[in-house]
Amino acid sequence: MNVNTYIPLFVILSSFVPALIIFRLPQKRHTLRTFLNLFGIFMTLFFVLWMFIGVYHNQEYLFRLPLLPNLDFSLKAGALALFFTGLSSILWFITTIYAIGYLEGSAHSSRFFGFFSLCITATIGVALSANLITFLIFYEILTLSAYPLIIHRGTEESRIAGNKYLFYTIAGGALLLLGVVWLYVLTETLEFTPKGFVYTIVQEHHFASMMIFTLFIAGFGVKAALFPLHGWLPLAMVAPAPVSALLHAVAVVKAGAFGIIRVVYEVYGIEIVTLLHLMTPLAVIASITIIYGSLRALFQDNLKRRLAFSTVSQVSYIILGVAIAGPVAAMGGIVHLVHQGVMKITLFMGAGNFAETLGVHYISQMNGIGKRMPLTMVAFSIGALGMIGIPPIAGFITKWYLGFGALDSGEEWVLFILAGSSLLNAAYFLPILYRAWFLSPPQSWPDEQIFSKTETKLSLLLPPLITAFFSLIFGLFVATPWSPLSWVQLIIEREFY
């Protein structure tokens, strides 16, 4: 019982407690609210950094609380858990800055920031969970706390989007619950273990193991927006831009993908999944989603909708990487958690800036926008090019490892998928860049706001620039020991293979 035991709990509390206080703050207390937000973030970052160093030196952080007979509420900071925690807490910081610029001063901001922090709490909880029941708990809290954010605007449209989101995710949650309970009845444990724990029952309950795996994939697939369960994601773009960033890059979608990683590696184990002949179907579904998402993105004029379908496609890279079943591909997949995160958040914040500063929502309105808002557009372009997979931006690394891993595992067909999707990515991003940089701007923008010093509010401008910078250096300095890829290598060595 030393302090290390409680650090995972502290991480959770350092965003949860500010959230509770923020809920009760009156609308006017801007400064206090901002202070609380930032305080929570810095506390979280501090603890996360502490644990990063600790885990690097093989320190264990495990917190337990009895929940049910034989089942604990337990949090554990392993390498993989920290990877996701680090991603979400850093992006939380950036998104919060952005959200303060975007929403502070508009109505109901206490509610907004409260639920925003709650979302992050849940995401960090998802990351740190050491067993399936804890995972499930945070996963559902995440589902719920994202709901008020989606319908934040309180319009009829957002209410419908929120209900659709909820319908999908709760149904997914129900499948997940069924899978978890079923698994528990069979194995009597839910603790994540390297190489999985299902091997104990797979002989006896072959069919049940397959069914449970399917339930898990379907359950997580809803949040990870696997085809055909992605329907809620494009609709949810009615939410304010920071929420979209949160949904697409930081929390919700990522939690689904992360769940699939956990299930494949630490519940079933690669070998069992392969034994059950479930890897290839998973890879196929991921591939279909990749192509389908890109195709749909091609035909959207609404910028955020196009980005949303792009997410549908991109998140499946992670799943594809997991499903190829080789350490190299897995590296590609897992590192994409971060790479997709920083790139997509850049894109969404860029889109948010266009909407907020110029009232531009549609791609057809973006002619010459690069001349009006050059910095934002530079960031946007870096994100877009990264998505396509242009070196040396982060997205390229992902694709490189995925392709390499596919060859490694003898799944050559994956290369075609990668090539095809890259082409499609180019087809839906390059026209935007072309319009923005090379066409002449219109006489007037739909709803322009003028800022004297910079092209837009500073708090809106800085975050996308930072994340764009991240996407660049994650690609450039991939070989350094502190790059995401190196950490993923550590994860794979320690926990998976």
């Binding site: 809920f23 009895p66 929940l67 049910l68 007979p69 109505a107 109901h108 509610r111 029941i133 499930l136 708990i137 559902e140 809290i141 589902t143 719920l144 709901y147 008020p148 319908i151 934040h152 309180g154 319009t155 009829e156 957002s158 209410r159 929120g162 209900n163 909820l166 319908f167 709760i170 149904a171 949650g173 129900a174 499948l175 619950l177 069924l178 309970v181 079923w182 528990y184 009845v185």
Partner: protein, 480 residues
């Protein structure tokens, strides 16, 4: 000896508030605070001594009436007194002076009846307590003084009388078949002869009528939705569970040894599932909030009987599921009804589509509703989740996939109706509505009840060990 005061105190308080109506609020609240203390003391004593009997009048059964305290009765008594105190604080603000003149007396007598019921071990005594509870809840329902409330109360009265008569007929048969009305003595004497089976059928019908299991639910929505808010809350939270509690006692000591479980298992599961589906769908299509909540109770009763059925099927974890569902539903549902009461007061109506930005204007009430909804749906981490988890565990252990699917589907439908309401709390209506102020305590009480429903999720382990004092579900099977 402490247990006796749980019955005497509310009676005493009731009479006192009848004689001195001037101070009825103070008397009422004081009584509830004291009762809560006594329940606490009872819990300590139980932990110390284990379960025990109290022979009233010094006459042991069969001649006299025995009281019996074990973990199950303690949990139910605790629930009653917590609900009693919080609803009293709410009611203090809710009832305006004319109604409150008689409210407190009836209310305290009802609580006395409930406590007496949870302590009793005598099937005729159960009948008298049932009547006491029934009549007082009818009288309280009618306090709303609207046409709906009166009609609902009347229908409720007829049903509760009918149920009692069926039950009493069963008591008569058991008495003449086996010569006692004490459960323990009966459980030793009972054997599989027609009269036992007839009694089983009659008593079950009577109690099912009272606990409103589908298809006997027809009286519930109107009565529960039209009663004053705190009364709706206690009706859904405790009253319908009182008759379920009697079922529990009867089955675990009398009817399972008969071997009746094999038939009734299927029956309860069937009607329970129908109740879940039907109640949820009906809740989903309601346009008025209180009606929606009342239909949700119909669905939740279905869950209780699904758990009951699984427990009869020999899955011991289903007993825990049942008790947990009872507790969490009680807390969550009462929070919902109180929120509905607040909204009715705030807007003067409870049409769901015209809730008009409640999320911003009454954030505490909305939070209470949302948290209660989380527990009703069974999302983690809440009391409802724990109950549902055990329920799923039991049904999967039994490989009963129909029930498993029903449970999940019911959860989805519940999400549907809870978030149907929550969605409209964010939107704005086209026309402006007049609003009235709501006192803080009327907002805080539902919130704290909802928080308790959530908090139940964290205390599963200690609660289970408390519940199992005296091993209430220890069942000896006499014959296969």
């Amino acid at each position: 000896m402490i247990e006796v005061f749980l019955i005497l105190l509310p009676f005493f308080g009731g009479i006192l508030s009848f004689i001195i109506p001037k101070f009825n609020k103070v008397i009422g609240l004081g009584t509830f605070v004291l009762t809560l203390f006594f329940v606490f003391g009872l819990g300590l004593q139980l932990l110390d001594k284990g379960s025990y009997y109290h022979f009233i009048g010094g006459w042991d059964a069969p001649l006299g009436i025995n009281l019996y305290v074990d973990g199950l009765s303690l949990v139910m008594l605790g629930l009653t007194s917590v609900m009693g105190l919080s609803l009293s604080i709410y009611a203090k603000k809710y009832f305006i002076c004319k109604q409150s003149l008689w409210f407190w007396t009836i209310w305290l007598f009802m609580i006395a009846g409930l406590n007496a019921l949870f302590l009793s071990q005598d099937i005729f005594n159960f009948y008298v307590t049932l009547e006491l509870i029934g009549l007082s809840s009818v009288a309280l329902t009618a306090l709303s003084d609207t046409k709906e409330a009166l009609t609902g109360a009347m229908r409720y009265l007829l049903i509760t009388l009918l149920g009692s008569l069926f039950y009493l007929l069963g008591v008569a048969l058991l008495y003449h078949g086996f010569g006692s009305v004490d459960i323990v003595i009966l459980s030793k004497k009972i054997e599989s002869i027609p009269v036992a089976w007839a009694a089983l059928g009659l008593m079950s019908i009577g109690l099912l009528l009272k606990s409103a299991l589908f298809p006997f639910h027809f009286w519930l929505p109107l009565a529960h939705s039209s009663a004053p808010a705190p009364i709706s809350a206690i009706l859904s939270a405790v009253i319908i569970k009182a008759s379920l509690y009697i079922q529990l006692r009867l089955w675990s000591s009398l009817f399972i040894p008969l071997g009746a479980d094999l038939y009734f298992e299927v029956l309860f599961a069937f009607f329970g599932s129908l109740a879940v589906i039907w109640g949820s769908i009906k809740a989903l299509v309601q346009t008025r909030l209180k009606m929606l909540i009342a239909y949700s109770t119909v669905a939740q009763v279905g869950y209780l009987f699904i758990a009951f059925s699984l427990a009869l099927g020999g899955i011991s974890i289903a007993w825990s599921a049942l008790v947990y569902l009872i507790l969490s539903h009680a807390l969550a549902k009462s929070a919902m009804f109180l929120v509905a009461g607040n909204l009715l007061h705030f807007h003067g109506h409870d049409r769901i589509i015209d809730l008009d930005r409640i999320a911003q204007r009454l954030p505490l009430s909305t939070t209470a509703f949302a948290l209660a909804g989380v527990s009703i749906i069974g999302l983690p981490l809440s009391g409802g989740f724990i109950g549902k988890w055990f329920l799923l565990e039991a049904s999967i252990t039994k490989s009963n996939w129909v029930i498993t699917c029903t449970i999940l589907l019911g959860g989805l439908l519940a999400t549907g109706y809870v978030f149907k309401v929550l969605g409209f709390t964010f939107t704005k209506t086209a026309f402006s509505q007049e609003t009235k102020n709501i006192s803080l305590s009327m907002e805080l009480i539902p919130l704290s009840l909802a928080i308790m429903a959530i908090a139940l999720g964290f205390f599963a382990t200690p609660l289970f060990s408390l519940m199992e004092i005296g091993n209430p579900f220890f069942i000896i099977r006499v014959q296969p």
